[in-house]
Symmetry: D2
Subunit: 358 residues, 4 copies
Amino acid sequence: MAQKMKAAIFVEKGRIVLDEKPVPEIGPTDALVRITTTTICGTDVHILKGEYPVEKRLTIGHEPVGIIEKLGSGVEGFAEGQRVIAGAITPSGWSNACLCGCGAQDGAGTRHGWKAIGGWKFGNTIDGCQAEYVRVPDAMANLAVIPEGVSDEQVLMCPDIMSTGFSGAETAGVRIGDTVAVFAQGPIGLCATAGARLMGATTIIAVDAVPARMAMAKRMGADHVIDFKADNPVDAIMRLTDGRGVDVAIEALGTQGTFESGLRALRPGGTLSSLGVYSTDLKIPLDAFGAGLADKQIRSTLCPGGKERMRRMMQVVASGRVDLGGLVTHRFKLDQIEQAYDLFGHQRDGVLKVAITP
Amino acid sequence: MAQKMKAAIFVEKGRIVLDEKPVPEIGPTDALVRITTTTICGTDVHILKGEYPVEKRLTIGHEPVGIIEKLGSGVEGFAEGQRVIAGAITPSGWSNACLCGCGAQDGAGTRHGWKAIGGWKFGNTIDGCQAEYVRVPDAMANLAVIPEGVSDEQVLMCPDIMSTGFSGAETAGVRIGDTVAVFAQGPIGLCATAGARLMGATTIIAVDAVPARMAMAKRMGADHVIDFKADNPVDAIMRLTDGRGVDVAIEALGTQGTFESGLRALRPGGTLSSLGVYSTDLKIPLDAFGAGLADKQIRSTLCPGGKERMRRMMQVVASGRVDLGGLVTHRFKLDQIEQAYDLFGHQRDGVLKVAITP
Amino acid sequence: MAQKMKAAIFVEKGRIVLDEKPVPEIGPTDALVRITTTTICGTDVHILKGEYPVEKRLTIGHEPVGIIEKLGSGVEGFAEGQRVIAGAITPSGWSNACLCGCGAQDGAGTRHGWKAIGGWKFGNTIDGCQAEYVRVPDAMANLAVIPEGVSDEQVLMCPDIMSTGFSGAETAGVRIGDTVAVFAQGPIGLCATAGARLMGATTIIAVDAVPARMAMAKRMGADHVIDFKADNPVDAIMRLTDGRGVDVAIEALGTQGTFESGLRALRPGGTLSSLGVYSTDLKIPLDAFGAGLADKQIRSTLCPGGKERMRRMMQVVASGRVDLGGLVTHRFKLDQIEQAYDLFGHQRDGVLKVAITP
Amino acid sequence: MAQKMKAAIFVEKGRIVLDEKPVPEIGPTDALVRITTTTICGTDVHILKGEYPVEKRLTIGHEPVGIIEKLGSGVEGFAEGQRVIAGAITPSGWSNACLCGCGAQDGAGTRHGWKAIGGWKFGNTIDGCQAEYVRVPDAMANLAVIPEGVSDEQVLMCPDIMSTGFSGAETAGVRIGDTVAVFAQGPIGLCATAGARLMGATTIIAVDAVPARMAMAKRMGADHVIDFKADNPVDAIMRLTDGRGVDVAIEALGTQGTFESGLRALRPGGTLSSLGVYSTDLKIPLDAFGAGLADKQIRSTLCPGGKERMRRMMQVVASGRVDLGGLVTHRFKLDQIEQAYDLFGHQRDGVLKVAITP
């Protein structure tokens, strides 16, 4: 009889509850990881609210930090007992999408090898990691060993928000001397700010209206912070840039307002790097797009995953280049995860990110 | 007293007429070119209809083929009597935008060096080339000598539609083995088809409904041509690609329909390369954009200019790689340019492009 | 008792012989492919001559065309009986190198995930395909189904020389309108010529001295062919380019002479793309390198592999863009492979490539 | 009669002396800049020693900081009295090389528009800036206004060593999480270290043997500093990287030893970014190059120039991202420049860079 474990499962719209499920079984290329720390993502709140559909009784969560409990028969190069993380996105490594360097759109199992958002499996198409144990598929491509001397909480942001936020700067190709605006300073936007700084942007303009986020934006590397409730952010950016606009705008919320402001804030030839999860059609205003003649680009990115990506993210942490420690504002036991969802889902008490420990 | 010449000038909405103007005077870094052949562009028809505003009495036209009549005192490296072209876009070479490789957004004269669509000067912000003579600004950056043995008509498409159409493939980064769809097969779309072929795409799907354009699309390199009146083009593309979608979609018309179809036809991670001049806001449907999670990109490009670009375009012609000769369907004297506008503006008699000779 | 098969094995320096070996056994992620056609590569001749060391009794050969005989228990997405190829390089998909898009340096099994030339396994570190059967490792990343209507011989060049030759142009970033010189027109160089053409180079200068190869260079897309026995190739290139030099030089032989000539033929800022396998140290002459100040680049590439790469190569064939049929000049049964080595190794009878059929 | 000024001129091998020359006259596209601060570069010492040939009586120096004294009749967008710098390299903006984004190889005046090292004019092909005044050619492309509140010494490294050093990281395409080794920590190498840090490298290994330079390397961002006199640097790098090697090696000296060590220190698929000025042929050892099969790249870069580049460099300074103030170890009046050459040429007293003020 299968061993039992606790897991946060989606029951129906409005209800994610802690329940018992069997400890996952693993196949030859999988690993079983015992979770030591995980977190809740804004996307999980979308799932909770029924805005992003998943199967009933699925275990939620896609940010695993833990210890290898068991390795599939075909997995080499790892050992039980190692401290590891896996990315929120777990590319197979072998689909056509992966072989094109686009593991987030991993179409393993499709005829042609591409599937939109197919790399996001944990807590989406397979059981996730808000649980005592999680099965990591394609373990050799996805397990990343935590460097010595680095704590769980230090790497807790690597699987998703750090990888996502940084990719906002990377996809845009931020260069030394660039001027970058980042719209919204939630956890993803704060990481985008840190990523732009890490790549050499010399003027970083963060936009938000929550004082705690605005203060954190400065710590993450913003040179200027605009309170969009006090000032029109596009006007403010144009004043700061002497009417030039920014080389790169990063959208980190997922609304028409931030998308459109980003496009308007760009200089001709600039790039809007979109990270948000949208819930409505988007409008590109004719003038903000120069009628199609302004050489503007709009690029969207889903969180890059895989063990090499995770290794790089952990190197950023281990080298001290970026310290995301301050993002964890609240801590809960797995037993209290429903409270954690309540707090995080309602954005109470200045919460940025929570840590969950089974 | 200044010598007089004939020129097609914008009088008011609905009226471009042939009139007399002084032969342009030139400054130290300019050249005066005697036009031997030019053409009318779709954009000129927008101007005629009052949809794109220009100053009254401006000479229209941005596709000059001619002979150097006179060089400014500071111009070196060229000689009077040389056969030359200049691009539709004439970058200064020295603005910040130009020094970033983005001459189409040339901000020569602005404080910070960027100006949306600032590289397009002929027939937009300075007198154009539907005239006996044209002044070419920043001549050393813009005059490109026509290779021996190549006729005016052979290079007539280089200044605008060839450079623009090819850039649709270039900006998208078409790679060997790519599948590319090109939406609309007017002159720009046909050049985009040729450009995708030239860069190594192995499956090129052209979309149009005009039989002559569909036939020309095949000659330009399309492997499949979809008649959008007979078939839903996105459905047809999905059938042709086994449900995968295309790596690159090129929009070459400037409408919501082609823009949206391009976005829908993309595989995850694909690039929509936009060439059209739009006249309305655009909508990005939520599903076509994977809610922002499908790694899709939208890139717009304005025609690249400058003498090096023109040199490359003429090399394509001179090497026989692409033969755009078939695009010139009608020929007129400059004296008949009002008739030419009438024919081209109403797209009568299967016109693709006209040649105008003073 | 294991079934037996015929295989060409390396016995000692100077001796590759046909012998009996057991049909390979396969693990859960492998496939067994019955070879229907294969070929001999210049690298195999290096092995024969003892210039490149491999283990004794290793089966040689890295260009498999065949039929899936058996799939490992963990392999999905393929079916026995399918006609397939695999690349000469077989990336695991899951090493750090692979996840960086550099499968040719696949370090599967190393601590850090990188190994020089580690992606080349067939006939190098594991048994190859000059045999009746071959085991394909990491089958899901490496099996590529042959399109309907395409023959074995048509795709026989895809696994190695086509992928390698094209990569010479791809790694150099050949652009529309480039001038490219290709040094040596053996099978790899001919494919480099074809690749430069496929990517939009408008002046392609091929260098060789063997009349049959020079003629074939023209068929593959060269605009000019220089006989290096009749003319100094660098001088000839400078004459052809009016003293400018080429944007890209591709080295396709592996000697100091071709390497150095390539570097000398470049314009400032140009790229030397190196494909050859060298057997001596190389010298960079101070003047050819502009003392380090000429913005020149030297890039080496090992044949890209994996199923997506093979799919693209076969698309080039299936679309008719490039026809490499003419490269197969001689055909042998597997039983005659020692004769084939003799002919190919001594480059007799105008041989370009041989086809071997078990 | 022309006004006179003091200038450091090359007389003959071994002699650069301060003498009188006429204040330069300017043409319509030039500017006259009154020098307020300049410096001596290692290249100037090569000139002094007769290792790099220049015309006799040429004014030396290519790092101008000063005030606009006079503008040519055709120069717009600037005003007399503005504090400006110009790059060591002064691209015309209009040559083919410039229009390809390769202004350092500016071939303004050649038939085809390319000239090796042609962008380096000051103190090489035209009079330089170790003088009271300098003529800046193509002023609109090259004058860059110093931001308010930034001192001469703060921007003194921008024209050459900062632009050069940073380009070592930029040309190599340093990415977030990269491991980078920088060979030699003179002024250029220190800037390369700072540039790698600025672009997101997380492990930076600097190599030198001079204690003051090793200490400065730490301040510029190195995580590890190897004393090559105490340890074989390649061995040390392999130990630090667990046998993997570095993603990027930057050569910043110009010797066979540093070049070869850089190549050996690379992981497969890595990039050697070469900044040094060599004075001998270079050897690529067969094994360090993986016989041409290791996907290694060697890229050389000459200091990027032009006003947009200078603007970006000054932004780095103004934003406080990098502080190069510590590099100026000694200060001299222009009258004392012969002493300054003596000190700097012999690398006495721990000199890193000198500041010269007329």
